[in-house]
Structures are given as C-alpha cells and as structure tokens.
C-alpha cells in the first residue's frame, strides 16, 4: 500500500484528504507542522509528500530543503500544495527540488487528487 505524507496545518484539509485518499487505498500520514513533517518523513519514508508552505515551527521551504538534503528522503517526490502564488515562490520551490507546485485556489479537489495519483504512478 502506497504511503502519502501530508504536511499541512489546516485540520479540515487533512481530514478531507485522509478520508478520500484512504478510500482509494492509500495509507495517509499526517503532520501538522514542519518539524513533525520532517521527522515523520524520515521515519516512514512515504512514497509521496504533499507539503504546504506556511507551516508552524518550520517553514515549508526549510522542510523542502532539508528533505532534499537528506540522503534518506531526497528521492521522495514532493508536491507543494499552497496558496502562495508569487512567481518567486514557485521558482524557489522548484529550485529546491519540488516535483510540482500547485496553488490550491486554482484547482478543484478532483484536479488535485488526479495530480496526486499521477505522481504516485511515476
């Protein structure tokens, strides 16, 4: 069973994704701040990470950087899922190694779930 780690401080989103993706047969791991997200990524080695950027304790960019610097986690594909839409943020995330950058406000739920499933198929 493929594992997805969702690093996101909004509990409503955590619940929605957990309910829907577990129904699809994925194992969902939740982290509500950057530090726990890093810790969980190292422990559980998920197949995919969904990462918000505005996070308590450790900013998403820092999380992304550390994940890509660590030998154990650098190969895990990361989808950044955020409402920050400045081009500097997009460029920075992609330079730090994010696979995809999705601005939440621009996609409906179905589109995001499709992208998640496609990322896991690769």
């Amino acid at each position: 069973m493929k594992k997805i780690l969702f690093i996101e401080d909004e509990s409503a989103l955590q619940k929605t994704f957990k309910d829907l993706l577990e129904k699809e047969g994925y194992e969902m791991l939740s982290a509500f701040d950057g530090q726990s997200g890093l810790k969980l990524a190292k422990e559980k080695k998920p197949d995919l990470i969904l990462l918000d950027l505005i996070l308590p304790k450790l900013h998403g960019f820092e999380v992304l950087k550390k994940l890509k610097e660590d030998q154990e986690t650098k190969g895990i594909p990361i989808i950044v899922l955020t409402n920050l839409e400045k081009i500097e943020d997009v460029d920075k995330a992609l330079e730090l190694g994010a696979t995809t950058y999705l601005v939440k406000a621009l996609y409906n739920l179905e589109e995001v779930l499709e992208k998640i499933k496609k990322a896991l198929e690769k």
Binding site: K23, I87, L106, L109
Partner: protein
C-alpha cells in the same frame, strides 16, 4: 547596533527593494541627489557672492542660510516621500496577508463541498444537493473575487510576472469552451469557433492567457440573451495573432464604453443583473498590454458586443 542601522539606511539598493521602487523614485536616493545639489548650489552661490559682496563673512552667512533652508525643505519633502513609500509597502503587505488568509478558508470550504457533492461519503438527497450547489456556487464567486483582487494587487505593484512560453490559443479556447459548457447549455447558446489552419503558437504566459480568454468568454456568455450566438474567431494577421469574440447580448451603453476597462467599473445595464467584481476587463487589458498586445471592442446596447485582441507571435 547603531552602525548596523546607519549602514542599513545607506544601503540604497536594499532600501529601494524594500519599497519596491525604482532607484530614481526611492526616497533615500532622492535625498542623496538633493544633498549633492545643495552642496553644488552652496559652492556656486558662495563663489558668486564673493564677486559682489566684499565681506566674506556675510557671503558665508548668506550661503549657509540658503543651504540650511534648502536642506530643511529637502528633508521635509523626502521624509514625506518616505512616509508614502512606507504606507504603500505596509498596504501591500497587509493586502497580501489578507488575501492569503481569505484564500485559505475559501479553499478549505471549496474542497469540502466538492468532497460532499462527489457522493464519496454517502448518497446526497436531491434537496440537499441543491443547497450544496448553492454553497459551491457562492464559494466559487468569493474565490474568483479573491483571485481577481490578488491579480489586481500584482498589477498595481508591478509584480505581475509574465512567464513567456509557447502557447496554443486554439487548445486553450477549446478547453475553455468545454469548461463553460454547463453555462452555455443553461442559456441554450450556440458557440462557433473558427480558426485558421496551422496557426502559430504565441509567446505568452499560459496561466495569464487563460485568465484573459476566460474573462472574455465568461462575459460573452453572461451578457448574452437566451438562445443567442457566440462567435469566436482566431487568425494570423501579419506578425500578430488576431482573436475576436462576439455575442448577441445586452451590449454596452454608449456612455459607459469609454470606462469599460477601468477598475471596478460595471456598466449601468449589468449592475443589477449579475454579480461581478468589475475587474475582469481591467485585468484582461493589463495582461495583454504586458504581453505586447492590444485590445478593443465594438458594442451596441441591446444588439451585442464584439471584443478583439492582437498578440505578437514572437
């Protein structure tokens, strides 16, 4: 600590970046220029004064007084500029935070509604579905407003970054017609899309072009009459791509036509008819201008409107 502050104040590029102003508008740079100007003025006036006044002490006094007055005036003016730049920066920061804080719960709401409507968590009764759809529609309206405001702030801050890449307008338009199919069907509209074969791709920002075309198509549908027509035309004209969209709708009153591209403007005959931010055409024009294009229209009240734009191919 003090030295650090002084150094920070003297760091012109950093100060200009802080206010997001070009160098020649930056208060610190202007202060420096005025300072040099005052020194030069002081030296010139001292030199000239020495020619006509015998006592050098009087010349020095007059020159220093003049320099002092100029310095005070300059200081007051530059301080005002600095305050305005700081207010602008704070406003920009505030709006960025507010918009982001609004976008987050709206997205949460939107996705939760999508999850419920999908039926994944149990069958939804017809009456319940009606209310869910009302929630979704109104949430979508708020999302679009926040999105429009975000784009507006970027335009005003001159931070609307346009990433140029090859874009197929034909594909974009076809996808949008498909996306708007529910609205098109609701009004029983006939949509025709004619385009020339082998049209070159334009160098544009894919997302921004989507906004432009969406705004124009949305207007053509929204302000159309029942069973009306929409005709879309795309062709190459010289070094440009020419796009045109026309409808048989309510048109724009003559007296409103010169204001139609202004921010927050909505024509007299639509205000009570439908919801809109009044930003769509302003944003559309700003994006096209940024891409080196032009936009125009012809319209007659109760007959319909035709909007066109051109975009350079390279």
């Amino acid at each position: 600590m003090i030295f650090k502050e002084i150094f920070s104040e003297l760091n012109l590029p950093a100060q200009c970046k802080k206010y997001r102003l070009p160098l020649w508008q930056c208060p610190h740079f202007l202060f420096l220029i005025m300072g040099i100007f005052i020194i030069i003025t002081t030296l010139i006036s001292y030199t000239i004064g020495l020619r006509y006044i015998v006592e050098p002490e009087i010349v020095a006094l007059i020159t220093l007084s003049l320099a002092g007055i100029l310095f005070i005036i300059t200081f007051i003016i530059i301080r005002s500029f600095e305050k305005m730049a700081e207010i602008n920066r704070l406003r920009s920061e505030f709006t960025n935070i507010v918009v982001h804080q609004l976008a987050t719960p709206l997205t949460n709401l939107s996705w939760s509604i999508d999850a419920l409507i999908s039926g994944e968590f149990g069958q939804i009764e017809e009456r319940q579905m009606e209310y869910l759809k009302v929630l979704r529609e109104n949430n979508q309206r708020m999302k679009e407003l926040v999105q429009d405001l975000t784009t507006l702030f970027k335009i005003e801050e001159r931070s609307l970054f346009i990433r140029k890449e090859k874009v197929s307008l034909v594909d974009l338009i076809k996808n949008l017609i498909f996306k708007f199919q529910p609205s098109i069907s609701k009004l029983n509209l006939e949509v025709k899309f004619n385009f020339s074969e082998n049209l070159p791709e334009v160098l544009a920002d894919q997302n921004q072009m989507k906004i432009v075309l969406e705004n124009l198509l949305d207007n053509a549908i929204r302000y159309n009459k029942n069973r009306g027509k929409i005709e879309i035309f795309l062709d190459k004209k010289g070094k440009n791509i020419y796009f045109e969209i026309g409808n048989e709708g309510i048109g724009i009153p003559q007296e409103d036509q010169k204001l139609i591209f202004q921010k927050f403007f909505r024509a007299r005959n639509v205000i009570s008819q439908s919801f809109g931010s009044g930003l769509g055409l302003f944003i559309t024009k700003s994006i096209l201008t940024e891409l080196g294009g032009k936009i125009g229209f012809k319209s007659e009240e109760n007959r319909g409107s035709k909007f066109w734009f051109i975009l350079p191919i390279k």
